[in-house]
């Protein structure tokens, strides 16, 4: 990444797509690989990432796991290098039953994850503003709880976009 240059905060910010066709609700899977493949395929079939993306996410998850224990639940934020991404997006899944991710920064720990935010980022600086708002949902107990119990893709999309809007002035 190189230096964080705080003077770059005003670089033109790109949108981060949060769309119903990138959302899975109460998905039934039995492993983290299965859900990463499903979300990766959705991103690929809709033209957001290259065909190398999903495998790159799976490989990176082994070296740098992304399970995070928030207050409300376990959340994972699988992602990979920018070269595999065409259009920045977040694919979201909630799970019927949790799967195990290893802990970010603590690869020996296991986190039971039932909410997945899979990030497709092509240029961190150009999406940092909105990406930060997406990640802030880990600390927003109310929004994260609503998302876990949402029954439709539209509900999940609205919860995330309302959450982002509520941080508009941050």
């Amino acid at each position: 990444m190189g230096n964080i240059n705080f003077n770059d905060e005003n670089v033109n910010q790109d949108e981060l797509s949060i769309e119903e066709h990138l959302i899975l609700v109460k998905e039934k899977v039995t492993s983290r690989e299965e859900i990463i493949r499903k979300l990766g395929n959705m991103l690929f079939e809709n033209g957001y990432v290259k065909n190398t993306y999903t495998q790159a996410v799976l490989d990176r998850e082994i070296e740098y796991p992304t399970g995070l224990q928030a207050r409300v639940t376990g959340v994972a934020i699988p992602h990979t290098d920018t070269e595999h991404v065409l259009i920045p997006a977040v694919a979201i899944a909630t799970l019927e039953n949790p799967v195990i991710f290893n802990g970010m920064g603590m690869p020996d720990t296991e986190v039971e994850v039932d909410t997945i935010l899979m990030l497709a980022i092509h240029n961190p600086k150009s999406v940092v503003s909105i990406l930060r708002k997406v990640i802030f949902i880990l600390e927003d107990d109310e929004a994260l709880t609503k998302m876990r119990f949402a029954k439709t893709k539209l509900e999940i999309k609205n919860i995330m976009t309302n959450h982002i809007r509520s941080l508009a002035n941050k």
């Binding site: 705080f6 740098y64 290098d81 990406l131």
Partner: protein
């Protein structure tokens, strides 16, 4: 006043270090502590670590160092964040005092 230099590290540098760094900077500025913060990918850290006083990382730091290392995870999840920020603030003050009395 000596400006403490902090490097915030993440796996490949896809924005998570940036998120943690922005939050940390806000907390420190509230305490009127003005520091220099850079982000780094984990792979670049061995070549860069000597330029910094402190490491805040969301991946395991494998390079051998006697510099203080803090986890960035509480800044991402909010769990244990207050305690972490208090520890970092205390360490920043300690380093500032050391460096200022060296002069």
């Amino acid at each position: 006043m000596y400006k403490v230099k902090i490097v915030v590290v993440c796996g490949s540098g896809v924005a998570m270090a940036m998120h943690a760094a922005y939050k940390l900077r806000e907390y420190l500025e509230e305490e009127k502590l003005y520091v220099h913060i850079d982000g780094s990918g984990n792979n670049e850290l061995p070549g860069r670590i000597n330029a910094y006083d402190m490491v805040v990382s969301n991946s395991q730091v494998t390079v051998k160092t006697d510099k203080p290392i803090f986890s960035a995870i509480p800044l991402i999840t909010g769990v244990g964040e207050k305690e972490l920020v208090e520890k970092i603030i205390a360490k920043v003050r300690e380093i500032q005092e050391e460096k200022n009395s060296d002069k």
